[in-house]
Symmetry: C2
Subunit: 289 residues, 2 copies
């Protein structure tokens, strides 16, 4: 341990900040001060405000705060990426007072991918032994992330815009009127998961609308069905041969993903995302402080 610090998981729309004392979270706050809420040039003031509330400590800033729209753009570290590699890419925006963590990029032969923030949880979960080495890890979200961490390195990863797509459909598409009702772990959700596994998403979605028009699905179950459809498609295209997935997440998404994994015959384990974040942030801090 090299002293207390504040770890900030600073995303696009949300933020959570931990005061970390001797590797434990001594204080936590969550708010909606994602980077889009912070005017350019105002990041030092935001940092000062965080210190005023959580203690006059150095800040480790993780996530979209390192993107073009954030405090300062910090180049991605290329996969395979270890905590040491990420540490090498950290940039100090206030000398010894505020550091920004790079994201991780991947340019596999057939596709590119990027992450900013999730690497800390993936590497933290692996380092802490929350999942066996080489296991398939998943972080559900607006953009769900799937990764394999082997021997302390993010070896390969893939992002799906599952959550963003659900919002697009609900807010702007012809399926708007179908996507009502609470998303529950019910039969409609499970039917959606099974249809999602058929990987004919564009037709499955129209089928959901047709089922609504023809009265073939109970009103109020459309949201659960389509949620199952998208999550099922996401899970199906990322499920490893062993069918075992370690989900790093929170409610409500983590249980939905777990149910989808079960529905396709796999095994799901749940890892607390806060614990994985703390572990990764603390270990990274030890490398740079």
């Amino acid at each position: 341990m090299k002293g207390d610090f504040i770890a900030v998981d600073w995303g696009t729309t949300n933020r959570r900040a931990y005061r970390i004392t001797a590797g434990r979270a001594a204080q936590l706050e969550r708010d909606a001060h994602g980077i889009l809420m912070v005017a350019p040039g105002q990041f030092p003031n935001e940092a000062a405000a965080l210190r005023a509330r959580l203690g006059d400590l150095p800040l480790l800033c993780i996530g979209m705060v390192g993107s073009k729209r954030g405090w300062r753009e910090v180049p991605y570290v290329e996969a395979p990426a270890s905590l040491e590699g990420v540490a090498d890419g950290v940039r100090w925006v206030e000398p010894e007072r505020a550091a920004i963590v790079p994201g991780v990029s991947s340019r596999a032969m057939d596709r590119c991918d990027v992450m900013r923030g999730e690497e800390i949880q993936f590497l933290g979960a692996n380092a802490a032994g929350f999942a066996p080495d080489g296991a398939c890890l998943c972080q559900p979200g607006t953009h769900s992330k799937w990764a394999r961490v082997v021997d302390g390195r993010i070896q390969e990863f893939s992002t799906a815009l599952t959550g963003e797509f659900f919002s697009l459909l609900r807010d702007h598409s012809l399926l708007k009127e179908v996507l009502i009702g609470e998303i529950q772990l019910n039969t409609a959700f499970r039917e959606g998961v099974r249809e999602g596994c058929r990987q004919r998403l564009l037709s499955s979605l129209f089928g959901a609308r047709a089922a609504h028009l023809l009265g073939a699905r109970a009103p109020g179950e459309g949201g659960a069905y389509v949620s199952g459809l998208l999550i099922g498609s996401d899970v199906h295209s990322h499920l490893p041969p062993a069918n075992e997935v370690y989900i790093i997440g929170d409610v409500p998404l983590a249980p939905l993903y777990a149910a989808a994994v079960l529905e396709v015959g796999g095994t799901a384990h749940l890892i607390d995302s806060g614990a994985a974040f703390l572990e990764g942030a603390t270990r990274l801090w030890e490398l740079i402080a």
Copy 2:
């Protein structure tokens, strides 16, 4: 032939109307007076305006005009559906002066589907021999339709919301900045088609964003790539075992679909959508007039 009439292909946002004399299109007009542009109660006035321009003739109204939001809701005819079956479902809204054609619905074991309007082109193309009996027919569009017409009946069909999804991504998603540039039949489009065939759409789309962020694809090629991705996924999940598709369509979508069929090793034939519509509308009129 039972006299002249006006066939109206009356969609959600667009409309085309033909004066048909002895089975031929004597006059055609296209405009943007889709059903959403017509206030409830104003359909008789719209019909009168059409007659004022195209001739004082009876109207055969086809498409979304028969939906809840149209002139009058006309119940779907269930598949397998023939021209005779569709004729039985026609409803006259003005006695002997204006008829509305029903759509076709399908409740297969695993999914529901509906169409309103496309049935006329599918049945017309089959009746005219524009495609062999039992061939795989495709109508690209906001909602692309795929059907097999056997012995004069729409046996099975499937809709994909390919075009609508592209618009959603372009107008509302994080891919907005990627989806620029003219959609051309270029290498980026073909790469998109091949990736689309892998049927991992939610990750492929995020990959397109990552390629943009990492500068791995030329700016201005994102639109062609993502268009190829969606069309490739659509084509791949509907391609019949014989790999032969008859595309009923117009520019620009028909050539894009044809190129995607070629890219996946299939054979594409193009059928003029106006000719298929005229054929279907004329044969239907003979059955009901």
